[in-house]
Symmetry: C2
Subunit: 332 residues, 2 copies
DNA sequence: CTGAAAGCGCTTACAG
DNA sequence: CTGAAAGCGCTTACAG
């Protein structure tokens, strides 16, 4: 890294062009020869060019802010930003393609060193404009499989689902139910698949009545668990697709006068700080949300540096934290 | 509001001085006559002057990010910021006067339209420098009584403590314990005082063994509740100083095979979204955290406008949300 | 204490 | 497609 911030005229001198031309490349104007543009773009990237005023800012664009899950992502981004002396601005954007596009337009207008996206994927057209303005983008926990050319950071959801289910199998459970998240999302599908894989590997049946498709919130978990408890043969364990659902399952249990883990074992997914607040404290899959956000932040800065050598999709490892909500199934 | 952003030369023209002089006022240089400085400062404020590039940014400086409580504050600030087309940048700062000062210095160096402070009060010297640079500051939930000249937004903590305790009295409870927060903080003291006032008003004794001083976290609530349950005459209800503690109390109850509210009623304080995740869902005092952050944000913008007419300390009302963790005391 | 002047980083309309 | 030139918003060293 050069100690001094490069200015437009530094870049112009090195490229052997005028300041005007460099400015055009920076603003994604069309009237620059491809070869010239290419050369200038590379120099800008190599010198980590930033406009002299403003910027030094990365935008975290996130759907809903109001959950421990979102909070962990914000925390991770802010911490990584502080280390790099970069300000993190938070944009909360409802789940609408239109509002997302507007938000990204505003970000482009005001300038940004990068976008961390925890949202649906913007249209290719919008992504193109971002790229033209040299604003890098990395998605976190993408809701769908990210296509080629889209960088993303997720976690090993499949392994997480597998680990939670295997843990219950090893405790002796045979009737293990699951509450899935919305199967339209990539992560929910992978977790569900991990559940199924563990059952299959242990030679246990995958029983349709023990599978409840639900939303990602506590009331969803509660309703699903109530339905499971009403089964002729209720499960002795429930694998929830996230911690919020697991709290809901615990509520359903308490409502029926049942206890975890004596009557039914419960596992969650996420391990945000509140997982330890549950009664009993939740056994759950650790999704390293803070590390995911920090990793995505660092990928932003690698933009264009390593060329094609850098990975496009990163998945951080999940681990299982065993607390008190799981135990052997009731005798008999 | 003028439709066009005023520039330094607009201000200079109106003030009948040169651009240089206005620039000096903006940078808190000393070589400007007091009268001139006064006149220019007023014009800058009246026109809502902002530097042409950069800024359009408000900094939220907060101690710890990783809690539902902090998350709600972030959410409120970001939403208010979005309405005003202002970016909110998050600065997470450990509880150290030194680090806080450094953070504020960095904020001054990079420029900011204002600071929302959820932290201890910075030294008067630092506050003076902020003021000289015309960066307004509003504290949220100040840990100590804010002195004159410091604007703050809190909530009616005393009334909240009173309401929770009165609710339990009305349900018929007579042995009501409390877990307080750290009594060095203003809000914990006020909540505790509300508890005491409700007891006194009902002619009930304030019994020292029923009062547990503790930290604001779940394990603190759990430990305090365990001690209360070991009393020769345990309480039939516990007033916790926040939701995290209340979750801990619920854990202690479950650990002893007791249930809320059949055996012991529990109230919390905050009502962040997770309060509804508890088993049973928490009866708790609503602290309007999002509204508090939004109010503080708006106070930032009033800086210097209304003159002395604007309030310095604002307290937003608390309300009680009755869910399922409270009920009549056990018979007998 | 004040401001004219030089200058910085950047953008843009326009001539070629 | 490229760049010289004008200009914008701002800062700063310095003369008075």
């Amino acid at each position: 890294m050069p100690p001094e911030q490069a200015t437009l005229s530094d870049i112009a001198a090195r490229a052997g062009v005028s300041v005007s031309t460099v400015s055009k490349v920076l603003h994604a104007r069309t009237d620059v020869a491809p070869a010239t543009r290419e050369r200038i773009a590379r120099l800008l990237a190599d010198h980590g060019y930033r406009p002299s005023r403003g910027s030094g800012v990365v935008d975290l664009v996130i759907g809903s802010l109001n959950s421990p899950w979102a909070d962990a992502l914000v925390t991770g981004a802010v911490e990584a930003g502080a280390e790099a002396d970069c300000r993190i601005v938070i944009d909360s954007v409802p789940d609408s393609a239109d509002v997302l596009r507007h938000t990204l337009e505003r970000i482009m207008a005001r300038g940004s060193d990068g976008v961390l996206l925890v949202h649906q994927m913007p249209a290719p057209e919008t992504r193109g404009r971002l790229a033209a303005k040299r604003i890098p983008l990395v998605t976190i926990d993408p809701p769908a499989e990210p296509g080629a050319g889209v960088r993303s950071v997720g976690c090993t959801n499949w392994q997480g689902g597998l680990a939670a289910t295997r843990h219950l199998i090893e405790l002796g459970h045979r009737r293990i139910a699951t509450v899935t998240g919305p199967l339209t999302t990539w992560s929910a599908r992978a977790r569900f698949d991990g559940y199924r894989a563990a059952l299959l590997a242990a030679g246990l049946p995958v029983a349709e009545p023990l599978i409840r498709r639900a939303g990602f919130f506590a009331p969803d978990g509660r309703a699903a668990a109530l339905a499971l408890l009403d089964l002729p043969e209720p499960p002795t364990a429930v694998v929830a697709a996230n911690d919020a659902q697991a709290f809901g399952v615990l509520q359903a249990l308490a409502g029926r006068g049942l206890r975890a883990p004596a009557d039914v074992s419960v596992t969650g997914f996420d391990d945000t700080p509140v997982a330890a607040w549950a009664a009993p404290p939740l056994t759950t899959v650790v999704q390293p949300l803070e590390a995911m956000a920090a990793t995505a932040f660092r990928m932003l800065r690698l933009h264009g540096e390593g060329g094609a050598a850098q990975p496009e999709q990163v998945e951080l490892a999940t681990t299982l934290t065993v607390r008190e909500s799981t135990g052997p199934p009731p005798a008999g």
